[in-house]
Amino acid sequence: MCEKYSFGVHPITCHSWNKDRTRIALSPNNHEVHVYNRSSGEWQLTDVLDQHDLRVTGIDWAPKTNRIVTCAADRNAYVWSPCEDGKWKPTIVFLRLNRAATCVKWSPEENKFAVGSGAKLISVCYFNEGNNWWVSKHIKKTIKSTVTCLDWHPNNTILVSGSTDFRVRVFSCYVKEFEESSATTKWGNKAGLGHILAEFSNSPLGGGWIQGVSFSADGNRLCWVSQDSSICLVDITKGTQVHKLRTEFLPFLSCLWVGPNAIVVSGHDCCPMLYTVDGSGQLQFAFKLDISQKKEAGGLSAMRKFQSLDRQARLEISDTELETIHQNTITCLRCYEGSNGSVGKLSTSGVDGQLVIWDLQPLEKSIKGLRI
């Protein structure tokens, strides 16, 4: 049902796969990014990307152009290109920030990337051939707090951001210098970089940092998860109304469209969950991806009892273990097989240092009448 891998006791801040999912880049919650190669089920550390000075906050691996972009609390970003010997060559990108960078994402065409930061702005970067240099342009408009998450519209010119001022904003991200005009979308006409196309408030009751945003495969629907344990959905073809589902779980940190009408969310509850969207645009809970049962404590022997009393000053040792596979918050959720909007397998990593790959198909079959 799922594959489990452990990368030590340190939290995994974030991870990203290469195109054929044979390699993974992840950060063990420090200034380094580790690149692993998977051969016959074994993970081999092939390179350590150690240019950052402070904790790495975002990694994104561009599948087509095979470049890795990383950003960190040291306010810089690096674009890493592969060398022939399997190592990676860094190119620094000056983001011109005065606060930590928080998240990074390549655009679908991989000719630019966006970096969110604590400086209340988004840095959009593209390569300038003439100067052999990554140029960074700022989007500042109306952002009043740290940008925590980003996602690109599939048309390469629209960007959505979520921030800690409880708002989700959709920006035009069309760079005149090198991009041809694209067809207009439901989000509005094309306009210059940083033009705000839409803005949504997380909750009429105020509050709730936005933790994750995601465009659907056709780019017409937008979902986000926030710190008030809710999932929100906007379908721009039907207007700007926000459908909000207040869940009974702990807050979610990331969301991903796994089907035209299905979203997987994961976060502090340590268990990825699938929600479906019905015809009227309402979200509904479908199932938990993690269906593992609590392990039966194998008979309380006298030895075990006294050992546990001695070590932890308590009789039961099982109450420190969660029923879920992940033993702590899931911080990163990625597509492993398929593409955005039709995901077959997905991968999660979290504070417990585990990487888990989930297969959606068997789950889908086991739940009668469910179509993702």
Partner: protein, 152 residues
């Protein structure tokens, strides 16, 4: 530890006031129509008729969460507590199950607000309410007590 850090007074300094571009919430929405507050007479009447459930729904539906007026908030809190205390222990389960998600969230906010002003009789009753509301709303409703800016 250095002697000068023994003083905890520095923890009470509002450092945000020295930040020029501090985050301020939009005040625009608040200045519109004055938020509804539950009508005391209506509630008293419902309670006298023994219709606690309807009284609960009315106070939760009209809860002045968006109000900035402390007096309105306090009277609504007292009224809600009065309604909550009017329930018999055996009725709590049924009452909680008949509320929708939004009312559950509002009720949880009032329960926590009630804990801020404890009295012997009140706390026992509130703990019972808390248990029942938690079983329906889950940890999500408690999270929203903490995150929502429009409080009880």
């Amino acid at each position: 530890m250095a002697t000068n850090t023994l003083s905890a007074a520095f923890r009470k300094i509002d450092v945000d006031q020295y930040n020029e571009d501090n985050y301020r919430e939009d005040e625009v929405a608040d200045s519109q129509s004055p938020p509804a507050a539950p009508d005391e007479n209506e509630i008293t009447q419902l309670l006298n008729q023994g219709n606690s459930l309807e009284a609960l729904k009315v106070v939760l539906r009209n809860a002045p969460l968006t109000s900035k007026n402390p007096q309105v908030k306090e009277s609504a809190l007292n009224l809600t507590m009065k309604v909550l205390m009017s329930f018999k222990s055996s009725q709590v389960d049924e009452a909680v199950n008949s509320l929708d998600v939004e009312m559950i969230d509002t009720l949880m906010k009032y329960i926590y607000k009630g804990f801020e002003f404890p009295s012997e009789k009140r706390c026992g009753q509130l703990l019972l309410w808390h248990e029942k509301v938690y079983s329906v709303g889950g940890v999500g409703s408690i999270v929203r007590v903490l995150t929502d800016h429009k409080r009880a």
